[in-house]
């Protein structure tokens, strides 16, 4: 367990020493979410209608921006070899990297979403549901993304392949995440959507570290 904590801490320290990587994805989210209301104009009904989709797609793309780097630096400098040879299970260590990725590129989006949602004239309840859906949904993005990042590690043009591989798998999270906010706005209640999101997190949390670890071992063999 100390290795898990050490890796999470190390990734956070590294991110704070090289802030631009974190700031890029957060800034991207803020800019996308801020440009749409300006482009659409002050049509409150339209804004409310498109808000969940835009905020969710923005969060999804922002979290994907940093996926390519998830294992690339550890692979390049040999840390990944040391992790693979560790007596701790590689899945555990990969889990630590996924958690660090979420803390750096998922959590900031969750915290910013309610503020950005104000521009779309969302009600307080809808803002709460938006935040909650992102809180449940962004870990899914990091977990699924980790498998994609591990599979495309060391492949030339891996970043393009990564998006092709991962974006279709993001669809369920997007549908239920944006759907939750839409259901709340239309008065249906969001609990069903949020339950599905929660189920997605649990399934991904079980399978993703294991699948990522297996793909990393394959990447290291060559």
């Amino acid at each position: 367990m100390s290795a898990f904590v050490a890796i999470v801490k190390r990734d956070l320290v590294l991110a704070f020493r090289r802030k631009n990587e974190v700031i890029t994805s957060v800034f991207f989210f803020v800019v996308v979410a801020a440009l749409f209301p300006l482009g659409i104009g002050p049509e409150l009904n339209t804004l409310r209608l498109v808000a969940p989709g835009i905020l969710w797609v923005g969060a999804l793309l922002a979290s994907m921006l940093s996926l390519g780097r998830m294992f690339a630096t550890d692979y390049a400098d040999g840390t990944l070899e040391q992790m693979a040879l560790s007596p701790n299970s590689l899945s555990l260590l990969v889990g630590a990297k996924i958690l660090a990725h979420w803390l750096l590129s998922g959590l900031p989006l969750v915290l910013l979403a309610p503020i950005l949602g104000l521009q779309f004239d969302l009600s307080t309840n809808a803002l709460w549901v938006l935040t909650l859906s992102l809180l449940l949904g962004t870990p899914v993005l990091s977990l699924i993304g980790a498998v994609g990042a591990a599979l495309t590690l060391g492949v030339r043009g891996g970043d393009v392949l990564l998006s092709l591989l991962v974006l279709p798998l993001y669809v369920p999270a997007l549908v239920f995440g944006a759907g939750a906010v839409q259901a709340e706005i239309s008065g249906l209640g969001a609990s069903a959507h949020l339950s599905v999101l929660a189920a997605l997190v649990l399934v991904a949390a079980v399978f993703s570290p294991w699948a990522s670890a297996a793909s990393l071992r394959i990447a290291l063999e060559s």
């Binding site: 100390s2 290795a3 904590v5 050490a6 890796i7 190390r10 320290v13 590294l14 020493r17 090289r18 630096t73 390049a76 400098d77 040999g78 840390t79 070899e81 040391q82 992790m83 693979a84 040879l85 560790s86 007596p87 701790n88 260590l93 290291l220 063999e221």
Partner: protein, 175 residues
Amino acid sequence: MHLEGGNGVGKTSLLRILCGLSALEQGAITWKNQSVAQNPDDFRLDVAYLGHQLALKEDLSPLENLRVSAAISGQQLPSAEALAALSQLGLRGREHLPVRVLSQGQKRRAALARLIISKAKFWILDEPFVALDLAAQQVLSGVLNTHLNNQGMVLLTSHQTVALQGDGRSYRLSA
């Protein structure tokens, strides 16, 4: 054990297969009479591998790097021990500098500090003497000899002659 051989005959590949990074096509690797493929965890506890890649983070200091790699290899590392290992390799006063400002040789020293703190019995070292100055080479030989005297095992590749104590064997790999 000293593994010799010209460039490209497969020394590094052999070491990577032995420590389990690359897959084996034929045969089996056993450790303490148990197949490594079936029982990798016991083997990994006993093995320390240092390859061409140093596994150092450029933005972290040698001390932080050492702490993280100790944690990854499942070891507790008191600060005093970490500092002693770094000063033994002549990195005293540089333990808080980011690794990216260190020279090539100093980076290798920072990576070798991992061996001093390592509790593993079997060290697999790929060209450990590369880029080290004479003083550091002597320190490293001393570290290896201490390890051998403590019933440890070392398997290394090197293009230079290495004076090691104990039951030293040399193998030559040819294509």
